[in-house]
């Protein structure tokens, strides 16, 4: 797989920040100039419930909807903003005012011109009404105004450092005001016939079979997109997906489409190329969650012992077949605020046993020191295998784990209502600790009944204060100091055990170029993707 040297990437990022179109050329080997035409067949699984990104943010919806809807910005692989529907942007020195200049000549798929009013409506009215993730972001705005049709100004109530990270299509899709204003957003018929500004339009959706997108001939980037059509093929069975990639019937797979154990085989196929780029914005971490209300999980030494007893390299190599990177703390290493100097936990079962001894948890006649129930994360076989490994690993130091299985809805109910002892969890960090990390540790987010809140009940006034201050600090250096301290405290406390930074394999048929060009990877618009003749 061709890759780029980090230094070159930084240099290129600075040089090419304004001309986003050239960026992808660096990510792949040199190729002839892009040509018009071609059809791409892409795996989609599971089938998205709807393509309206305002009311559904599942990955499949984001993958297909990201071709139809756009947001103001895009992000390069280092999470630096690039132009999207906004041509340029500026931030006032006090960090309170964000001004976006919009692209000219942008039209909605129904031909209506796109203006700043659409952006104001989307952020102020639409997204704050229906989008659970962007509501807390846009509610920080004092005013959102459009001084002219191509300018939008956000005045915030206080500084909010990650404000510029919120502008990708599934966090802040820009929706047409003329279609949605004054309607019931959740049942508007346009939800089934989405109208966006993106490079592709919805032509047909045969449920259970395929989704057909066609080129938007009026796209604001003249001459783009290059592809004529995209077919998303709904393939619910993992083996069928592998066969489809193997036989060339589909040209692209992403996320967990291909089972981890099939990855080495597909990687060796001459017609396929594999990349793990394009997941930087999501930055997902798998962690072992401890319900701190339960004994002996409330004792920090016990959690440290568990963390020492798990071999994260084994998990990566044997369960994820080499994909991923052992996680060392609460912040994913692709997020700029990650601090590599924070102390790390080594795989050390002896130390684990020593900690357990110190707690007075001696082995009984049956060799067991403590008994814990672990809820299996029902997100697919790989998590089941991970759970089985953890049971084995903890068994070796005398912690007997009983695995409990359920479907997603049941698991979600148990976890959000705090009816669990241990479980795996996986979540995206959304480009910034204030968007995707703090929610799991601040005590103000201990809310029974709400999944992906601080479900384990961790409460530390120092952490609360640091997260609050860092999020609103206009001084990046100050904020970084606070994030470093947060990482040190959390790693010492181990409120959860961070196991693996997930890497996903994206397989691309080699005839297709410039497919993955940004930090949102296959969820991006594919305006630059083309088929080599």
């Amino acid at each position: 797989m061709p890759s780029i040297h980090p230094l070159r990437a930084v240099a290129a990022g600075i040089l090419l920040a304004a001309s986003a179109a050239l960026w992808p050329a660096l990510a792949q080997a040199p190729a002839p100039a892009p040509a018009r035409g071609g059809t791409m067949n892409i795996i989609i699984s599971p089938e998205p419930p709807t393509l309206m990104l305002g009311i559904n943010q599942t990955t499949p919806a984001a993958i297909v909807g990201g071709k139809i809807y756009e947001s103001l910005l895009r992000y390069d692989f280092d999470l630096k903003p690039m132009p999207g529907l906004a041509k340029s942007w500026s931030v006032s020195p006090d960090g309170l005012t964000y001004t976006f200049k919009l692209q000219e000549g942008v039209k909605w798929h129904d031909g209506t011109p796109f203006t700043a009013d659409d952006v104001v409506f989307s952020a102020k009215t639409y997204l704050t009404a229906v989008h659970p993730r962007s509501r807390p972001i846009f509610q920080r705005a004092e005013t959102i105004t459009a001084p002219d049709p191509l300018t939008v100004v956000f005045k915030l109530k206080g500084p909010f450092a990650p404000f510029l990270m919120a502008w990708e299509p599934s966090t802040a899709p820009i929706v047409p005001r003329h279609i949605y204003e004054g309607t019931d957003f959740r049942t508007n018929p346009a939800n089934a016939k989405p109208i966006g500004t993106g490079p592709f339009k919805l032509k047909e959706w045969v449920r259970g079979s395929h989704i057909h997108l066609v080129r938007n001939d009026d796209y604001w980037q003249k001459g783009k997109p290059y592809l004529d059509e995209i077919y998303y093929r709904v393939l619910p069975d993992a083996s069928a997906r592998t066969v489809a990639m193997e036989t060339g019937q589909t040209h692209l797979s992403a996320f967990a489409d291909i089972e981890t154990f099939e990855v080495p085989r597909l990687k060796a196929m001459p017609h396929l190329e594999m990349t793990t780029k394009g997941y930087e914005y999501l930055a997902q971490i798998v962690w072992l969650d401890f319900n701190l209300r339960a004994k002996p999980l409330d004792d920090r030494r016990f959690r440290q012992a568990v963390y020492h007893a798990i071999d994260r390299n084994f998990l990566r190599d044997r369960v994820w077949f080499g994909l991923g990177k052992p996680a060392t703390g609460p912040i994913h290493s692709s997020i700029p605020h990650y601090d590599a100097n924070v102390p790390k936990y080594a795989f050390d079962p002896k130390k684990a046993e020593a900690l357990l001894d110190e707690m007075g948890l001696k082995r009984g006649a049956d060799g067991v020191r403590a008994r814990i129930t672990m809820d299996q994360l029902p997100y697919g076989d790989v998590y089941v295998r991970a759970g089985e490994y953890i049971r084995q690993a903890l068994g070796r130091v005398g912690i007997q784990v009983t695995l409990r299985s359920a479907d997603v809805a049941t698991w979600g109910d148990r976890v959000r209502n705090w009816d669990y002892e241990m479980t795996l969890q996986v979540l995206s960090q959304l480009g910034h600790p204030a968007l995707g990390v703090s929610r799991l540790y601040v005590s103000s987010n201990i809310r029974k009944g709400v999944l992906f809140s601080n479900v384990n009940g961790y409460s530390n006034p120092r952490i609360d204060a640091l997260f609050d201050k860092a999020a609103v600090s206009a001084d990046a250096g100050e904020a970084q100091k606070m994030y470093t301290e947060i990482q040190k405290i959390l790693v010492e406390d181990v409120p959860v055990a961070w196991l693996l930074e997930l890497e996903f394999p994206t397989f691309i048929d080699k005839r297709f170029r410039n497919v993955v060009t940004s930090a949102i990877g296959v969820r991006d618009g594919f305006a630059d993707a083309y088929m080599q003749r």
Binding site: Q57, R133, R207, S209, H212, R233, D237, E246, A409
Partner: protein, 325 residues
């Protein structure tokens, strides 16, 4: 006339049973943990009470259970199956799209498995005790004992990947314009592997049942009488043995209709067949209540209808049986 009366009476009874099924399903699915609002909130990766409240209110989940049940039944009686907020479509549209592919798949498999099973059963019975009888039994049991998904995958490996004769998935070629006849051929080619997978599984039961039943009938007095009268062996087999032996097979076939719908979930998944089984499976995981109840209702109605048809066919095959008796 008697027959029409019987059908009318049974249809009425069927409707009552259906209503009972609706109520039972409604209550059962709500006993399961989780609800569609919680699933959707979880998928959004969001921690937000307002979002949950909004969804619950919109789905009507914030109202008392009995009120919800009453509203649902009232809607069903006026043929309104409700709306899937998750999929942003009326349930009736979803069912209308997904039912025909399932009927095509299971209908084909039903006919093929019945024909092949009875043929094999007859062949085995005629050669009872010989090696070809054993061979048929072994083959039939092999496919009966093998999981459906495995047979399906092996079929894909052989006929799609290695030989390249048949498409591996889907119900038709996507992205090509096809005329009427070409479209039928195309769907037919896509149908071969999934239909055969289901057929091979269900065929075994019919083959075993036909064989056992034939052997039993073969030794009865009226057969011996016919033979003594000098009736030819072929005719004895057709008119005397098979006609009597087929009755239990008809019963089993009627009962199997429901299983066929159930088994199609696995085959629909392996072959990406856009049928109702997959719709149901996904609806369970997502607690998409209206879709799930709609699927249950339609499949229950189908099973009831098939059973009614079985009874009618029974009376046609065997005049001794009186309808409504």
């Amino acid at each position: 006339m008697e027959r029409l009366e019987f059908i009318a009476q049974r249809t009425l009874k069927g409707i009552v049973v259906l209503l009972g099924i609706v109520v039972l399903n409604f209550l059962l699915i709500r006993l399961a943990p989780g609800d569609p609002a919680a699933v959707m909130a979880g998928e959004a990766g969001a921690s937000d009470e307002l979002f949950l409240q909004q969804l619950r209110q919109q789905f009507g989940l914030d109202r008392p259970l009995l009120e919800q049940l009453w509203a649902y039944v009232a809607n069903i009686l006026s043929f309104d199956f409700g709306f899937s907020y998750r999929q942003q479509r009326p349930v009736v549209d979803l069912l209308a799209e997904r039912l025909p592919p399932t009927l095509l798949l299971t209908g084909t498999a039903f006919v093929l498995s019945l024909a092949a099973g009875v043929t094999l059963g007859v062949m085995a019975a005629r050669r009872a005790g010989r090696w070809s009888d054993s061979a048929i039994t072994v083959v039939a049991l092999f496919f009966y004992a093998t999981p459906l998904f495995w047979v399906g995958l092996m079929g894909v490996l052989l006929f799609s990947v290695t030989l390249g004769w048949l498409p591996a998935f889907g119900m038709g070629s996507v992205g090509v314009k096809l005329g009427g006849v070409e479209r039928v051929i195309d769907v037919g080619r896509h149908l071969v592997l999934p239909a055969l997978t289901l057929t091979l599984f269900h065929m075994a039961v019919y083959a075993r049942m036909t064989r056992a039943s034939m052997l039993e009938v073969r030794d009865q007095d009226f057969v011996r009488t016919a033979r003594a009268k000098g009736v030819g062996e072929g005719e004895i087999l057709r008119r005397h043995v098979l006609r009597n032996a087929i009755l239990p097979v008809v019963t089993i076939a009627g009962m199997k209709a429901g299983y066929l719908l159930g088994g199609s979930i696995v085959v629909e998944t392996v072959f990406a067949w856009p049928g109702i089984g997959r719709l149901a499976y996904e609806a369970v995981l997502q607690r998409d209540y209206n879709v799930l109840l709609g699927v249950f209702l339609v499949t229950s109605a189908l099973v009831i209808a098939v059973n009614l048809a079985t009874d009618v066919i029974y009376s046609l095959v065997d005049p001794r049986i009186e309808l409504g008796a």
